[in-house]
Amino acid sequence: MKSFLPIVIVVAALAAVPLVVQSNVVLNFLIVALMIALAGQGWNILGGYGGQYSFGHAAFFGTGAYTTAILQVHYGVNAWLGFLAGVVAGSAVGGVIGGLAFRAGLRSSYFALVTLAFAEVLRIFASVAPITGAGVGLLIKLDLHPQAFQFRSRAIFYLIILALVAVSLIIAQALERSRFGVWLVAVRENEDAAMALGVNATAIKIAAMVISAAVTAAAGCFYVQYFLFVDAPIGYGAWISIEALLTPIIGGAGTVFGALVGALVVKSIGEGAKFLTGDIPGLDLMTFGAVLVLVIAFAPRGLVGTLIDAREALARRFVSSRKIAEGTARG
């Protein structure tokens, strides 16, 4: 249980924020950042731990958002049930795409392409199909009651997305400590060698994709409850595929806190860029692109990964200097 302690501390610290800060602007910023952290944590499970770089996680985000919205708007289903159904639908889409792609043996560039293509197909269908509201999108009726998953206070939305992020952190931590997680990392490091040792790489990757899709879909479900609107460019647009990938890469792919740190950094940079030069379209994403290239060049393991490396290097130096000291004492 000791390994879960950092998660408890971080989540408790974040949960205290609404007690100190009442500003809606700050809370809104944090809610959006945590939502992106959740989407990114989904990507991190497949991309960070499994090494399978998806360029189309929008497929899961959008499926989650649309399922939640469609069930409420067209079928009058309760929002909380809609939320659950959205997560299930997202993971099902993940299972289908993962099953097709990994069974066909697609790797690296090919996998990135096929995920991108699936997200695009879904986007095109969502922008013409009547059930998704076609070009207009879907608007969820305003109904500010807890049973409708709508709240007057942003603090409650904040605590809900924080709870979802906490669950995603626990999933990643449990993954790191499980046999499944070790197999997944083995597949990332050397798929052929892992298979030679008897790891069923295809099954492992598909399972990772299902979990990954469920987490990112949850972010989509939350999006639609928070903004009460979804259309094709939002749900299945490239922006979410990029942000879901950007946050763990910048924060540290294959680490528990990578996506959370990355999301806070990325969103701060975005807001900072807007603050400095006014709200000119393109500027925030432009900086994201530059930051992505810089991180790959100078901190390939991301911010958290670089910190872990530095700590380990420091520990090694401490141990070796103590050994030298012991050696001289004995000599």
């Binding site: 090494g51 090919y110 392409l113 290239v293």
Partner: protein, 290 residues
């Protein structure tokens, strides 16, 4: 409604549009063949080239077809520099890092264009843009006919470079066996950058051919590149004849698909072909190995 002349003109138009797709795909397949990554910055570079062609005509009055001789070398240099100074050093040869670096560049370039020129769509007016010629069985727009011819000249030139020059031989050697080529004294960093430059030059030429009849905005290139991905996969990644034939096939499929099912579903059809090819025969119709 479904008469032969309409069908024929849809096919001919598809072939002509397909030739430009083929050119964009040619650049992509060339880069894949040597660097073994999909260049996700290809679309953003095409948008940048469209802007370049637009402003060269608008500010200097240079005809887009003549601008080829200006922009192709300029974008060759740009591609060379990007690979040599950004993608190569940032990724240190790691495939996943290279993919991410091209994605980062794509986001950077596309949004820099958005920042500089806003989302407005621009077009240029050429006196001959709407002239047509009578091919006996159908009418064809002059710019499309010119671009069809130019694409084949470019493909031929590329083929000559690849077979006759030392650089071409070195590129083919690196594509086949990188380590062996390195041991034989080939400067792989230089060859990577040359290849990236050639691929980017293809994009610049495609932009010059497109601008007379097409429009430009910061994301204009993306539509072509998603199609180019399909072509490259269909034709076999790294295969030059595959890219050419795949381009023509996709051009016709899109034209007929749009004719029968409407424009946006015609596009979805292309992606479905793409996914089907990826899943069933990922090495494509002409690719040797996956």
């Amino acid at each position: 409604m479904l008469s032969a002349p309409i069908l024929i003109s849809a096919i001919v138009n598809g072939l002509l549009t397909g030739s430009i797709y083929a050119l964009v795909a040619l650049g992509l397949t060339l880069i894949y063949g040597v660097l073994h990554i999909i260049n996700f910055a290809h679309g953003a570079l095409l948008s940048a080239a469209l802007f370049a062609a637009f402003f060269v005509y608008q500010k200097a009055g240079i005809d887009p077809y003549l601008a080829i001789f200006l922009l192709a070398p300029a974008f060759f240099g740009l591609g060379y520099a990007l690979q040599c100074l950004v993608i190569g050093p940032a990724s240190r040869g790691d495939e996943r890092a290279m993919l991410l670096a091209t994605l980062g560049l794509a986001v950077l370039i596309e949004n820099a264009l958005l920042y500089a020129f806003r989302a407005d769509t621009r077009t240029i007016d050429l006196p001959y843009a709407f002239k047509t010629v009578d091919l006996a069985f159908t009418f064809v727009a002059v710019p499309r006919l010119i671009s069809f011819a130019v694409v084949f000249v470019v493909a031929l030139a590329l083929w000559l470079i690849m077979t006759l020059t030392d650089t071409g031989k070195a590129i083919r050697a690196v594509a086949k066996e990188k380590l062996g080529a390195e041991l034989a004294g080939i400067d792989v960093t230089h060859i990577y950058a040359m290849t990236f430059g050639l691929g980017t030059a293809c994009v610049a030429i495609a932009a010059c051919l497109l601008i007379p009849t097409y429009y430009v905005n910061p994301s204009a290139g993306n539509a072509f590149v998603l199609i180019a991905f399909t072509i490259v996969v269909l034709g076999g990644m790294g295969s030059v004849p595959g890219a050419l034939i795949g381009g023509l096939v996709i051009g016709v499929v899109e034209s007929l698909g749009g004719f029968f099912f409407g424009e946006s579903l015609g596009q979805a059809g292309i992606f479905l072909i793409f996914i089907a090819v990826l899943l069933i025969r990922p090495r494509g119709l002409f690719g040797a190995t996956a």
